[in-house]
């Protein structure tokens, strides 16, 4: 018995990407540096590498997702991995199987990486305790969405050269947003000054303790900022009692040319998508090629995910 216990204790620490909070500065630099090399590759004619040949990647998406799931799928394939995306709608989970049981079933197939998106905060953490492979968080509840924050950082670096010293304003539904939380942690770590802008009903308790300044006046929140990061406002929030109406929200928290004037002249507009034009962002601003980097975010997303897959898969085996 004692020997078994000892063996368990020395079992190799797994390497997972569960959240920005768990990453160190050198790890982040490594991801961003590697991702840069993939940007050029993704633009070339021959996009396929064999870094992850023979590896198996399972995408386990419990929530509907278009861009994140396809981005991870493409990233895995470009690195040469065998990628399988689970269709949860038809799976045993809908029949009442628990996350742990699903994990153990998949684990028996010896995957090297599981990419998980789940509606419950902490689900990737739970999964990571039970499987022998790397777990990558593709968004859990309202907690973290680390690859989104990393791709946002890469986009900013691509345009502005650095994140350090910039003023970044994150606007919209902060309360329910994992993108906001991951970005707050990451941008702070990279040396930016972070503002959040939202109506009081959409600001989480004690948000300033995460190292941000909170504003309910969007013009003040955008004052002299370098980056305007808009968040999606989910429709169900408006039918709940968080807000009176989309019209009222757009008037005070929608990104319009008038409010954007407060930001620096060369401020970039970002959005994790999908966008609600006319609800959180003026449709012309969203398409303004001089200001909006929304499509570039999607493009660099693949590069970031390739870097994450390579780094977290490699260090595991």
């Amino acid at each position: 018995m004692a020997i078994i216990k000892k063996l368990k204790a020395v079992k190799k620490e797994q390497n997972h990407l569960l959240g920005i909070q768990d990453l160190s500065y050198p790890q982040i630099s490594e991801i961003l540096k590697l991702a840069k090399t993939f940007i050029t590759l993704n633009k070339s004619d021959s996009k396929k590498l064999d870094i992850l040949r023979g590896k198996t990647q399972i995408n386990l998406f419990f929530e509907p997702s278009t861009r994140t799931q396809s981005s991870f799928e493409l990233a895995g394939k470009r690195l040469g991995a065998d990628v399988m995306s689970m269709n949860i709608v038809n799976s045993a989970i809908k029949k009442g199987e628990t996350l742990i049981d699903t994990a153990m079933t998949l684990n028996a197939m010896h995957p090297d990486i599981i990419v998980i998106r789940h509606q419950d905060s902490g689900a990737p953490n739970l999964l990571s305790q039970k499987v022998n492979c790397s777990v990558i968080n593709a968004g859990d509840g309202r907690r973290e969405h680390p690859t989104q924050a990393l791709l946002d950082a890469l986009t900013i670096i691509n345009r502005k050269g650095k994140v350090e010293g910039l003023k970044i304003s994150i606007c919209g539904d902060i309360l329910h947003s994992r993108v906001a939380r991951s970005n707050i942690y990451l941008m702070n770590m990279l040396g930016a000054e972070v503002n959040v802008v939202a109506p009081k009903t959409l600001l989480p308790h004690s948000i300033e303790k995460l190292g941000v300044k909170a504003f309910t006046d969007m013009k003040k929140g955008l004052d002299k900022c370098d980056i305007v990061m808009m968040l999606r406002l989910q429709n169900e929030r408006m039918q709940g009692s968080f807000l009176p109406s989309a019209r009222e929200y757009y008037e005070f928290f929608g990104l319009t040319p008038d409010k954007l004037k407060m930001a620096k002249k060369d401020a970039l507009i970002m959005h994790p998508g999908p966008m609600n034009r006319g609800v959180e962002i003026d449709t012309n601003l969203a398409d303004d090629i001089n200001r909006s980097v929304i499509r570039e975010q999607v493009e660099l997303g693949v590069a970031i995910r390739m870097a994450c897959l390579k780094i977290f898969c490699k260090s595991n085996r």
């Binding site: 628990t98 905060s121 902490g122 859990d140 939380r181 989480p204 308790h205 303790k209 995460l210």
Partner: protein
């Protein structure tokens, strides 16, 4: 049964203001014949057999006002036998069992079943609580008078709160005629809907929906307003926040008569202990901030809070090995209630007599049961413990059927050595 002589113990009986070295005689009926300093070696015949307790502490058996047992319906979580073993190893000799079983304890025939099972399978005193409303649905009140006559000591919807103010006001109005004790779990369902932990910095960081302190405060304020109009025996099962403490202090100052409990978990842990999504610390009411915890501790000391409960809620592993949102609520705790409470004495947070009173005579008085004291003629329900003995909580040694302790690996000081129920030695640790 022969008479039993316990000598050379530190006898603490808060009801009678006793804290002295002395002894205790259990007569042949299993009741207390005498207790105190007069019962000493010199005053007793030398021929009889005496048990020398070597200055260990002897208190009345603990009365735990909030315990969940799985019978009927959830026997795989806890049955009367396992609950009894767990309780006795923690010096708990009387428990009030919550009605949230399947089916719910809401009618007279269920009470007979419970009493029979409790008598046949357990060695502790089971005082069943019945639900306030049929099937704990919060709509139709139960038969307080008839149930009370059958031996129900208290009425509560357990993990649920009567939400409808009209129903609650009528319950309080009606209950007074049968002098029934009403115990409320204070939580506004609309405000706490979907909430998992305390609403604060930790809930923001973990991305878990918060339960605001207002959900508790608003129900306490509502019920205390009713109490002004419809006086009845009213008890708030557990409180968790500083703000609720203020409400209670104010109401007591105004002369309102009611009582208040707190879970040992809310006295000993705070929201930071949840760490990386530890589902064993998913509790109701939730663990709150350190300053809330301190306010609760102070309230036990100054008498604002009357009772400490274990809120023993056994949950099997399958119900806890889930995401935080899906995991069951509650923690096992009846066997660690006293040792964990003693931590608050050792770190000088709460005076020993206050602590013991909150575990013995105070709950007995609220429940109006003849327990919790060392009075002459009372049942010899006793708890004898070594106040300094260090030990570590280990899941594998837990006697309860479910192992969901929130304090795994915690170093505690103070361990129960012997437990007597009605004069019978029913637990002994070597």
């Amino acid at each position: 049964m022969k008479e039993i002589y316990l000598i050379n113990a530190r006898i603490i009986d808060p009801k009678n203001n006793i804290d002295e070295i002395g002894g205790l005689i259990i007569d042949s009926n299993g009741t207390i014949k005498a207790a105190g300093k007069k019962v000493a070696n010199g005053n007793l015949p030398s021929s009889i057999n005496k048990i020398d307790l070597k200055k260990q502490v002897l208190i009345p058996g603990i009365v735990d006002m909030r315990v969940f047992v799985g019978e009927p319906g959830y026997e795989y979580k806890e049955n009367f036998r396992t609950l009894s073993n767990a309780a006795l190893s923690g010096g708990v000799t009387s428990v009030v069992s919550m009605p949230n079983t399947n089916p719910v304890i809401d009618n007279v025939s269920m009470v007979d079943f419970l009493k029979r099972r409790g008598r046949d399978k357990s060695k502790i005193n089971i005082f069943p609580a019945a639900s306030l409303t049929k099937n704990t649905e919060g709509k139709q009140m139960t038969e307080f008078g008839l149930l009370k006559r059958k031996g129900i000591v208290a009425f509560t919807d357990g993990i649920k709160t009567v939400q409808n103010p009209e129903v609650m006001s009528r319950i309080m109005n009606f209950a007074s005629q049968s002098e029934s004790l009403i115990m409320q779990h204070a939580e506004d369902n609309v405000l706490s809907n979907g909430g998992l932990i305390n609403d604060g910095e930790i809930s923001t960081r973990l991305g878990l929906k918060g339960i605001p302190f207002l959900a508790e405060k608003i129900i306490v304020e509502r019920d205390l307003s009713f109490l002004e109009e419809y006086f009845c025996r009213y008890h708030i099962s557990q409180i968790s926040s500083k703000k609720t403490v203020s409400v209670i202090k104010k109401a007591k100052k105004e002369g309102k008569i009611f009582s208040t409990g707190v879970s040992i978990n809310n006295l000993s842990l705070n929201e930071n202990d949840i760490g990386d999504f530890k589902t064993f610390l998913k509790l109701s009411p939730p663990l709150r901030t350190e300053s809330d915890r301190q306010a609760l501790v102070e309230s036990v000391n100054d008498g604002t809070i009357d009772v400490i409960v274990s809120d023993h809620k056994p949950e099997d592993e399958e119900s806890k090995r889930l995401t935080f949102a899906q995991a069951a609520t509650g923690a096992s705790g009846v066997e660690t209630l006293l040792p964990l409470a003693l931590e608050l004495f050792h770190n000088k947070s709460i005076k020993l007599n206050k602590l013991i009173a909150a575990l013995t005579c105070n709950p007995a008085k609220i429940l109006d049961i003849n327990k919790g004291t060392l009075n002459k003629g009372a049942d010899a329900d006793l708890c004898i413990f070594d106040i300094n003995k260090p030990w570590v909580v280990n899941k594998e040694n837990i006697k309860s059927k479910s192992k969901n302790t929130p304090i795994e690996d915690r170093k505690l000081q103070g361990q129960v050595l012997k437990t007597f129920v009605k004069g019978e030695l029913v637990h002994e640790r070597n």
